[in-house]
Subunit: 216 residues, 2 copies
């Protein structure tokens, strides 16, 4: 019997990829408006390479971009990029069915948790901006979603693997390590897949799956 | 004859103090809503002490605040404070008469500049959010508004002291060092003062002062 449901954040509770792309494109347009002499499409491709090279948490992507474009450190252009980037990243919204489905599951008596990979402050920042920070019972943030992480969640919740469900979009992080421990896994994906015990397109499909599972 | 006008940013172009106080009060309310067990008024007083102790550019005021309150590092509470703080600080607006007065002076042929103390990126960030970043001809940012700084501005603009006017709210930073060099100074203040060649309540009083000066 399922007692707790764990949710991934990025691309599970909100369209993270879409907002990140929008934020980067906004930043580049703002930098060009502020005086950067470059083509928007080419600059976006260069920025993506820089993010890949330095990682997403590196704080000076735009400085690296200007170096890549053989420009000096221009605070007007960098500030323009940062302002536009943050304005887009600050206005994230959950997938429309997410808040009501989670509240509905909570009211049915399930323990509703977040299981997220990243920096605690950054993941909490997202939950707050999504307006979900007071809905979850527990928020678990780890630097890597390994089997060890899922085992530590079981210990903290004082539950057995068969009492937990993990919901997420990443086969590598949300499905495989959790499933190895016997946790019921639900893949959020629009593409057919053999991974996960269940696959859903939208979070609103979750209550029906849980109901079926409880009646088996 | 005046050829260039230098403007201070904080409390000259926008009510910086008011927004900073609003941002801090919002942050504390958000932290209490996120679980901080403290009184808002007392916490605000503690935060002000911390900002005084560590300086305004220290990036971890809220961590220091939780330590001061003998609480551990709680990422939910800190993230709640950061989000609320940035949302308030991100929505700064110029004093209502500032944009049209500056554009009017620019159209009359004056070189319109910013002379600001702080970090270049942070000062540009403000100009961009105020929607003024494309109106100024030049932006000069220094770590300290000393006589040396004003001399370097004269050199960069290739102008003599009597061709420049400095407008700002700080006697220490905007008036005294500029006046020593012979720059015409205008104090923005609602209190009578013997400092500065002129005193105005609002930026919109500036064109009349310049006109009188030119006709003398």
């Amino acid at each position: 019997m399922i007692k707790a449901i764990l949710f991934d954040i990025d691309n599970t509770l909100f369209p993270s990829g879409e907002f990140a792309e929008l934020a980067r494109r906004n930043a580049i347009n703002a930098m060009i408006e502020a005086g950067l002499d470059a083509d928007a499409t080419e600059t976006y491709a260069k920025l993506k390479k820089i993010i890949k090279k330095y990682g997403p948490n590196y704080p000076k992507h735009f400085n690296a971009l200007l170096r890549e474009l053989s420009m000096g450190n221009d605070p007007k252009i960098i500030a323009a990029g940062i302002v536009a980037y943050h304005q887009a990243k600050a206005s994230i919204f959950p997938y429309p069915d997410v808040p009501k489905t989670i509240i509905q599951l909570r009211e049915k008596g399930y323990r509703i948790c977040v299981a997220s990979e990243g920096r605690a402050l950054k993941q909490w920042d997202k939950l707050i901006r999504l307006g979900l920070h007071n809905i979850f019972h527990d928020v678990f943030v780890t630097s890597r979603k390994s089997e060890k992480f899922y085992r530590s969640v079981l210990t903290k919740l004082k539950l057995k693997p068969q009492e937990i469900m993990m919901v997420g979009d990443s086969i590598e992080k949300d499905i495989r390590p959790a499933r190895k421990l016997g946790i019921t896994t639900v893949l959020v994906s629009s593409h057919p897949s053999k991974e996960g015990d269940y696959r859903i397109n939208k979070i609103s499909e979750l209550p029906a799956i849980i109901e079926r599972l409880e009646n088996d």
